[in-house]
Amino acid sequence: MGDRQDVLPGTLALMILRTLDVMGPLHGYGIARRIEETSGDRISLNYGTLYPALLKLEQEGCVKPRWGASENNRRAKFYSLTPAGQKRLVRATREWHETAELIAAFLAPKQEAL
């Protein structure tokens, strides 16, 4: 468990938005599982990291919570993407690609740079 890393600052919001976009409305546990699985268990999410991030997105109007029943009939809070969240996801995805390309260009092998 020691080699699992924390999420990069600023990336968690993007991961949550993308997860909700792909999976539809989901509760906190589901979001955490999905992110951990997608990362190939390289990321572990503390409650103390995940829930404040969700609340922040809620405060920013990107997600909307609603109480509902989970698959084993337990009361759970489901988060869904709002139109504002959708827009933010599109923009953040584009920005992230641009940043990634830029960094990749910088870190390209030396011979190619010559």
Partner: protein, 897 residues
């Protein structure tokens, strides 16, 4: 937009308070259950499944806390919580809170009051437009000690033409005039000004107009501008006054405007007049006489010009003037002209006194902060256990620091609020005190910058105090908790700081007490000064019957005035209890403004010797006996010394020594001399010395003796006459009767300076009394605080060492020995404080040397007494805790330790 929305949501969350906590708990609980269920599904036993899930969660409580922080504004909620906690904690120790608030109130209040005075008098920009570019020109002759000589019109003309760095030069001459109303006359302080005066000074009208170039010259209309203060106090701010005609010295003059409130130099002024209001100011003697110096000069620096440029141009020009007009400048007297920024001039006399006040107030702040720091330290040690536990439970050191800061902020805010009251009360006293020293005293107020100063000062004090209490470093909590409360008192570093603070308190007290001692001795010395007068049962009142013009150019009016003075004199002499009444000018102990150079017959001046410049005074035959001025040799005046008899004078001992040294002055002849006589009706004829009087302390008890020439009242102009009434007792009771007599004989004459000799004398003592009282009050305060400080620290040290003392006693130390041990501890502090204090006081005394009189700044008696007093206070303060230590019962302490 997104951020704004988030911020709004958080503010709403903060305002809503902790309400939805259950919601968070439930959500987290659901997460945990789902994870547990998943773990069971993977084949773990239920107990292990839940444990694994808990481990993976990273802490349920922390998570809930993190969400709560995100929900609202954690800093703000923590602050309100801290604030509530701080108030509760302070309410639990009311004695501590009261002492600290009081000490801080005194420190902050005293400093705020003194700062507002310094700001009003020294720092605040002048109300004049571009006031920082105003210069005052001052002519002085170092060798004769004349330090503020006016300028003559030809001199001003030279400056106007020869100093390009000055864009404008205006003249003003203070002039005392009588304003005649319907049935009373009042003397007012006027200034005759050139038309450009207001423009140069950068003053604007509040009402009407001010003077301009067309108000200059003999053909101009007589006009008058009221100062704002005079307009408010005498016309009730009535705008209808503009355009009305008033009678000044018998001449009509039209009020044209009111000028904005501004300080005047050197005296407050009631009205400003154009030059045409004084025939004298337009006369040829005034316009052409280079030595006829009657006007004060202000200039405004030209755009781009610097003070240094103006000064060097003035200096160069003045040298040329001296070469071109050698008859007008006595080279032996070293004449010079200084250009002084007007703002500096305003604070000139106040600066030293302000330094004294700033110093005293600063020391009071130092001592009050030191004592509060000590109290805080002691309280901090008692609370250390609590703080360590709070830190270990997760409060975090930064959070605790913030808590302490908030506690101290609450204390200083309370202190500042009470201090505000101290400042307001003190300010009223200080303003009336400062009026003696600066024309800007009425500008002193508790305005925004002063309050800002107070806030910054308070915040600084709070910050300082909150960093005194030691907090454990992160990661050492456990060790501290194990240590428990017992050994916490023994932190040597803290103890050193406490002791240093006590030493500072003692030293500061010594400095303040020494200052108070020196100033009190100054006051006593001053009131002991012999005025030179034989009695104090003397009442004086000044009744000017003639205007300056009448006095100098109307012989008939002069004769009439002398008759009326004689009538008043005789009527007053017949009042019951009156021994003698004399007439003369000015009254005893007053300074005469009429001064001329004096030469003695057949006595050539030595090379480089400066001609004595003596006051001219007039006296009726009864004057010397009435005023109690002793005759040293020869005779006083007699009724036979009349206008048509031989011209005689009486001189004082100081002049006799200057002119005749060891020779007998009686029968010698002296005369007024100097170019300036040309402009007066005063003759330079020889006059025979018939008597010598003792020198009296005219113009203030702390002022050196001046040469004086008395001439018989009958043989000279009736200068603003003073009636001098000597009675057998309670001379002040004669005031109503004497006033009635003057009113009947001269109904429209002003009656001024109705004072007894004792009151005149007190005028030079009373400012010193205020100095001494202020600093003594600060000093006594400091001593009390310091005494409490020593006692407190020793008591604390004793209680921290109770266990140790118990052990010592059970091993055979007797109570006396224990007592000595504690006394020694206090004694070391006391001696260090005294040594430091005496050294500091020596330095402080040098700084206030100018305020002392008759006492050396290192007056041994003062320092010895102060040191002894402080030592007695200190030892007494050590005694109480020492006695407590000696009464420690070993049986009890060892059991509880």
């Amino acid at each position: 937009m997104r951020h704004l929305r988030a911020a709004l949501a958080r503010v709403a969350g903060f305002l809503a308070g902790p309400r939805e906590d259950d919601d968070v708990q439930e959500e987290l609980e659901a997460h945990l259950e789902m994870e547990t269920a998943e773990n069971i599904r993977r084949g773990m036993p239920p107990a292990e499944a839940r444990r694994e899930a808990l481990l993976a969660s990273g802490g349920m409580t922390q998570a809930a806390e993190a969400v709560r922080e995100q929900r609202a504004l954690p800093v703000l909620s923590a602050l309100t919580m801290d604030l509530r906690y701080a108030v509760r904690a302070l309410r639990l120790s009311p004695a501590f809170t009261a002492v600290v608030v009081l000490a801080l109130a005194l420190g902050i209040g005293a400093n705020t009051a003194v700062f507002s005075v310094a700001r009003g008098v020294l720092l605040k920009p002048l109300p004049h437009e571009d006031g920082e570019r105003l210069l005052y020109l001052r002519q002085s002759t170092e060798a004769t000690g004349a330090n503020d000589i006016s300028f003559s019109v030809p001199e001003v003309r030279d400056f106007r033409e020869g100093v390009p760095s000055l864009a404008g030069i205006a003249e003003y001459s203070p002039w005392s005039m009588v304003l005649q109303g319907e049935d009373v006359a009042v003397r007012i302080q006027a200034a005759l000004v050139t038309g450009n005066y207001f423009e140069v000074m950068g003053l604007r009208p509040v009402l009407g107009r001010l003077t301009g170039a067309h108000d200059d010259g003999p053909a101009a209309q007589r006009v008058m501008v009221l100062t704002y203060d005079y307009w408010m106090s005498h016309f009730g701010g009535d705008p209808g006054v503009i355009g009305t005609d008033l009678r000044l010295d018998g001449q009509p003059v039209t009020v044209i405007g009111v000028v904005q409130s501004a300080p005047f130099y050197p005296e407050p002024i009631d009205v400003l007049l154009n030059m045409v209001n004084s025939d004298h100011h337009l006369s040829a003697t005034m316009i052409e006489g280079r030595t006829h110096r009657m006007t004060r000069v202000v200039g405004r620096l030209a755009p781009g010009a610097t003070l240094a440029q103006a000064r060097s141009q003035i200096e160069a020009l003045y040298a040329v003037m001296q070469v071109n007009h050698p008859e007008a400048y006595d080279a032996a007297a070293h004449p010079q002209v200084a250009a002084i920024p007007f703002q500096e001039l305003m604070g000139e006399r106040a600066r030293l006194t302000l330094w004294l006040l700033l110093g005293a107030a600063g020391f009071v702040l130092l001592i009050s902060v030191a004592s509060v720091a000590n109290l805080t330290l002691m309280r901090g040690v008692r609370r250390q256990h609590e703080l360590v536990v709070r830190a270990a439970l997760g409060a975090g050191v930064a959070r605790l620091r913030r808590l302490l800061l908030i506690e101290n902020l609450v204390l200083t805010v309370l202190g500042a609020m009470v201090g505000m009251g101290v400042a307001i009360g003190g300010l009223r006293l200080l303003v009336s005190f400062m009026e003696r020293y600066s024309p800007r005293a009425n500008e002193i107020s508790l305005d925004a910058p002063v309050l800002g100063f107070m806030v910054v000062l308070s915040a600084f004090v709070a910050l300082l105090l909150s960093h005194l209490v030691a907090l454990p470093r992160e990661g050492t909590f456990a060790a501290h908790i194990v240590e428990g409360g017992h050994r916490l008192g023994g932190n040597p570093g803290r103890h050193r700081l406490q002791r240093a603070l006590v030493v500072v308190q003692i030293a500061t007290s010594v400095v303040l007490l020494s200052g108070a001692g020196l100033l009190t001795r100054t006051m006593l010395r001053l009131s002991e000064v012999d005025t030179g007068l034989a009695t104090e049962e003397v009442l004086t009142l000044q009744v000017p019957l003639l205007t300056p013009a009448e006095l100098m150019f109307d012989p008939a009016a002069d004769v009439r005035a002398k008759q009326r003075y004689e009538e008043m004199r005789q009527e007053m002499a017949s009042l019951p209890g009156v021994i003698e009444v004399g007439v003369g000018s000015p009254g005893p102990l007053r300074r005469s403004t009429v001064r001329f150079d004096v030469k003695a017959e057949s006595r050539p001046m030595a090379v480089g010797e400066v001609m004595p410049n003596a006051e001219l005074r007039t006296a009726s035959p009864e004057f010397f006996r009435a005023a109690g001025i002793p005759l040293v040799s020869g005779r006083g005046f007699a009724a036979t010394d009349r206008q048509d008899s031989e011209m005689v004078v009486v001189i004082n001992q100081t002049l006799a020594d200057r002119l005749f040294q060891d020779e007998d002055p009686i029968g010698r002849r002296i005369a007024w001399t100097g170019d300036v006589l040309r402009f007066t009706p005063i003759s330079g004829d020889w006059r025979t010395v018939v008597g010598v009087t003792a020198t009296t302390r005219d113009g203030g008890l702390d002022v050196g003796p001046e040469p004086v020439v008395f001439v018989p009242f009958a043989q000279f102009l009736a200068l603003g006459g003073s009636l001098v009434i000597r009675a057998d007792s309670n001379v002040a009771a004669l005031v109503p009767a004497a006033t009635r007599i003057v009113r009947r004989i001269a109904p429209t004459a002003p009656i001024e300076r109705v004072q007894t000799i004792a009151q005149i004398k007190d005028q030079s003592v009373s400012p010193r009394r205020v100095n001494a009282a202020l600093v003594s009050a600060f000093g006594i305060l400091a001593v009390i605080i310091a005494a409490v400080g020593i006692a407190g620290v020793l008591a604390f040290s004793v209680s921290a060492r109770t266990g140790e003392i118990g052990i010592r006693m059970s091993l055979g130390a007797d109570p006396r020995r224990i007592q000595r041990m504690v006394l020694r501890e206090g004694g070391v502090l006391l001696i260090s404080g005294l040594a430091l204090g005496v050294a500091g006081a020596m330095i402080a005394a040098q700084v206030i040397e100018g305020l002392l009189f008759g006492v050396l700044p290192h007056d041994p008696a003062t320092f010895i007494v102060v040191t002894l007093v402080m030592a007695v206070v200190g030892v007494t303060a050590c005694w109480v805790p020492a006695l407590r230590a000696a009464r420690v019962d070993p049986a009890i302490t060892i059991r509880t330790a």
